[in-house]
Homo-oligomer: 620 residues x 2
């Protein structure tokens, strides 16, 4: 069955009209009016009602009414007066349901019977006006903090205008669940359900709730299981998002509203309640594309040459070159009047696109459309392939190409004149190992949802990397088979490498591309011989490495000679890797060798890399 999709105005930034317009533009059908948004609104409640009606938004609920039940007199009588005033507002607003959350006052009496009597009286008064009351257990309620307690009180009050409201955060943050809901609570008594996810933090529930809630799929709570239990109980009201998040409050309301609706669609898919085109099968990065002009291309080509890349082909109709080393393809796009040139004008030489190999690009495009992700198509020359593409939340293009292992012709064969010797590829690289993106602060949750909902990628454990000028938070996405690895980096500090990159670009993008090799020592030695600008690593690093891993001096010396960093995981998997200096302070390359199933990115070495990068003058 169709559940209306709803969002609480508190999730979004701006004035009440801004919030409502953003919700309607994303495609929500209903809203929760958060009281604070009404009382800071300059128009009347009646005008707010008209605004919603004009936007096609139903007002699903008015919220919250706090600290009502089980108060001693004279507060009890005053609270009933307060409720009558709010009923006036609701009637002007055209909101039929009021959310009453459990009392958090120390003065609240520990008497469920009193709570039930008070709520019954409130419901009686509401019912006379055609209004209804939903009672919700806050995780930090003084006496009522579990849904079963709230249900006991609702049951005891036994009034048709009184029902139960559930909120995934309040239940899941306590480690509680909805076991027994379907047996205990008749569907018609489930008046409303709110959804929020959150990262797992060891914070008190109040602070956790007020600052770190996120949309389903952005956090770590089992929200899908919660929805499953809600549906099993026969609930047929709206699915509504209620999120308090410091970053969402400061972000553009349209992006956040779209993320919100995407999260609900994805959540319904998780429980089989929404049929979307299936998740793609991913098999790596086919190419990374750079926006350049001729001067930058010559310079970048020279740098790539030192790393064993060769100019392997030229586009049939565009000013675009293919550079290749074994399985690693780089596209250098200097075509005027293209998306690449637009980016070059704005940002200088930079990564403008990545191409992911997928089993069925058309199906993924359909999935993206169902999930409200912008799809993009570049103009093509005659007889050339049209490569479908998506826009990531930061505007980076993600091309979708068919996995060549399935027998599909590669884009190079159709759209490029390939150098004879390059038709099958040569050189020592296996392909792309990973491409890391620097995100503007506040963008991590949008990316997490994008990669998770569209591609089925799961975020790895977050890392905190100490740049000499502040922390960089890193989170990597990887496909199950390890063919696609996408670390995301974000820094609150504008003085870190990541922060400076984002400030310089007034946005974000790929700033770090790693190539896989079966033999890092040989690959790096060859690169060094060709004059590759490898990043110098301090000798103190190798002394510490010796102490940490007990490596023999011969091995340490070999690593040091090739500027190679080293890591080893608990299972003995190893990682040898070297970095280049940055190209015009914009992006840098890495050569990595994985062995024994090592799945990380050498996070322990990031501090050394970042300090070494900061020692270089800008532009070096």
């Amino acid at each position: 069955m169709h559940h209306k999709r709803s969002i609480a105005t508190v999730c979004l930034s701006g004035s009440l009209p801004d919030k409502l317009e953003a919700a309607a533009a994303a495609g929500f059908e209903a809203v929760e009016i958060f009281e604070n948004d009404l009382l800071t609104f300059e128009g009347s409640a009646r005008e707010a009602r008209r605004l919603c009606a004009d936007l096609g938004l139903e007002i699903a609920i008015f919220q919250p009414f706090r600290d009502f039940e089980a108060m001693p007199e004279p507060q009890r009588a005053r609270n009933l007066d307060r409720a009558e005033r709010k009923f006036d507002t609701m009637q002007a607003l055209g909101a039929e349901l009021l959310l009453v959350c459990s009392n958090v006052q120390a003065a609240a009496l520990p008497e469920p019977a009193r709570a039930a009597a008070d709520l019954r009286e409130m419901a009686e008064r509401a019912g006379r006006r055609g209004l209804r009351i939903g009672y919700e257990a806050l995780a930090w309620g003084t006496h009522t903090n579990r849904w079963r307690q709230a249900w006991d009180i609702v049951q005891q009050a036994d009034h048709p205008a009184l029902g139960l409201i559930l909120d995934s955060f309040h239940t899941l943050c306590l480690g509680d669940d909805l076991a027994g809901l379907a047996q205990a609570v008749p569907a018609e008594k489930l008046f409303f359900v709110q959804f929020a996810d959150a990262p797992r933090l060891t914070l008190d529930p109040l602070s956790w709730s007020r600052h770190f809630r996120s949309f389903p799929g952005q956090g770590e709570l089992p929200v899908a299981g919660f929805l499953r239990d809600i549906l099993a109980a026969g609930y047929c009201g709206p699915l509504s998002l209620e999120v308090f998040n410091d970053e969402f409050r400061a972000a553009p309301s349209r992006r956040i509203a779209r993320d919100g609706l995407r999260s609900l669609i994805w959540l319904e898919e998780q429980v089989g309640n929404a049929a979307l085109p299936a998740m793609p099968k991913l098999s790596g990065i086919e190419f990374v594309e750079f926006a350049v002009d001729h001067a930058a291309r010559a310079e970048l080509g020279a740098m790539l040459g030192t790393m064993g890349f060769r100019h392997a082909g030229t586009h049939r109709s565009k000013d675009v070159e293919l550079w290749r080393n074994g399985g690693a393809n780089l596209v250098l796009n200097a075509e005027p009047d293209s998306a690449a040139s637009e980016r070059f004008q704005q940002l200088g030489p930079s990564v403008c696109a990545m191409a992911f190999r997928v089993d069925d690009p058309a199906r993924l495009v359909a999935r993206a459309e169902a999930l409200l992700c912008p799809v993009w198509r570049e103009r093509t020359g005659e007889g050339e392939r049209r490569i479908p593409a998506l826009r990531a939340p930061d505007g980076t293009l993600i091309y979708l190409v068919e996995n060549p292992e399935g027998g599909a012709r590669r884009i190079w064969e159709d759209d490029f004149h390939l150098e004879e010797a390059e038709a099958t590829g040569s050189g020592g690289l296996l392909g792309m190992d990973h491409a890391a993106q620097a995100l503007a602060p506040g963008m991590m949750d949008s990316f997490v949802l994008f990669y998770r909902a569209l591609f089925g990628l799961e975020p790895d454990t977050p890392w905190e990397l100490p740049d000499p000028y502040g922390l960089v938070r890193s989170r990597a996405f990887a496909s199950g088979d390890g063919s696609l690895r996408l670390p995301l980096n974000v820094s609150e500090s504008t003085r870190t490498g990541t922060g400076r990159f984002v400030s310089a670009f007034a946005g974000a993008g790929v700033h770090h591309i790693a190539f896989a090799t079966p033999d890092a020592e040989a690959t790096v030695a060859a690169a060094a011989a060709r004059g590759a600008p490898l990043l110098d690593i301090p000798s103190n690093y190798y002394e510490d490495l010796g102490a940490r891993f007990g490596l023999e001096d011969a091995e340490l010396n070999a690593l040091a000679r090739q500027h190679l960093l080293y890591d080893r995981d608990a299972q003995g998997g190893t990682f040898r890797h070297a970095y280049t200096r940055a190209f015009r302070d914009r992006f840098f390359f890495e050569i990595v060798e994985r062995a024994g199933g090592y799945a990380g990115f050498g996070a322990a070495n990031a501090a050394v890399r970042m300090a070494a990068q900061r020692r270089l003058p800008r532009g070096d």
Copy 2:
């Protein structure tokens, strides 16, 4: 006795040389070398040693050595090898003491005797090289997390090269203290002591420690009591700061180093171990000074005129006017080639100074100098008074004038030609109620320490104020008698009013000045009659007010008529206040009436105010 003052390099941003230079410039005598800072340093350990020597810094300790004790074989043998390698490094570095923190590995054996045997072996090896080992209980150590456990192990190990290290955070974050220290631990076994404060958070100790430590006086832990117990135990080593703080990592190292040393001096004063000129007695704000040009002064004067201010005097030698309403004085400074004109050139019309009334300005200047706060003196005309001033951490000048209630002549009597009628003041305002400052992100801790250490002001509970475009965090300082009230506002979001103000000013400053009146209704009515640009408050606000406080309609109507907001505290104290629109989007005024001991700032109304301000076009 004199304790060397020391700081861990991890407290500061930048490369190892940056950190050392900042520590030396602030006046530290010693440093803790944090291992990561050495291994990212491009020079050798010997070069780091020379760098410290050239800067006059002793290397008090090398840290940390992790996960050493009570490991099963073969890890135990490997750890001893690792220690030998680190001893090599220490000898090159010239560091004599190694900090070993308690093991956090799950594999660590729950056997204090094994831990003692391992540490004894380590100490024996260290001792052979003339090195020493200090053992410290981490709050999240697998088996050792209290100092008494660490001491039991050290005692059991019984080796002259092994002693105890204490850290205020690790002890205090667990609610533990040093009771019994002096009785249990001989002074010569207290090898080293580290200090950190922190806000009280309900986070796990590890996350709390890694991100939210701060310098003594910036947080809420009883660090002074900790120091008292340390001194009582006869400790005579360095007092060393070890702080992990996300904001400090991203901040300029010289500011943070200076804050650090200031915090140690203040901390020693708390326990009677440092004699500083006594805390001032504060009695309010004598004036607020604006940097203007003639056009801005005319415009601001016109606005002030609607609020009942009159041009009351003119400076004898400078292009400076005094505007006055009762006890509230504003100085409009258009003098060319002054600190004010410099600020005006940079920032346009803005608050450039405040003057605090104190019992003894000279004593406070001496105190400021002892606490490393920059003192500032403006040039003066012949026969004019030289007003001593301090620079707040954001550069705002704070003049110090003698409290006129003590009989001192006021600055106006000496330096200004006063209008005849104004000599004694007229008009209805009582004076300044508060002046709020917008801080750049990352500046709160610097300000907390500045107000606390210099002036003895205590920070109030933090508030979170919901601007329509993000949260604003607010913390107020007030003198005990309420004569001086200084709220500080900071916002991570650049889209909030506070964030926009800070971005526009590329800095920070006073953006909100509140005047006290005995009768808000009359004062505001008179201002309205004179055409004051009062901020419109939505009618929904008054409906909610009625519901919340049960006010009668007549009172609500009276409030609404005068654009007055209202708050009431739990003791029945009330607050009536109204705002003006902002002057050129820079600063705004407030008129406030306190009754019944109300001590807050109407935080519950801040959201309404901020939403109303954002509805106005910029510049209105």
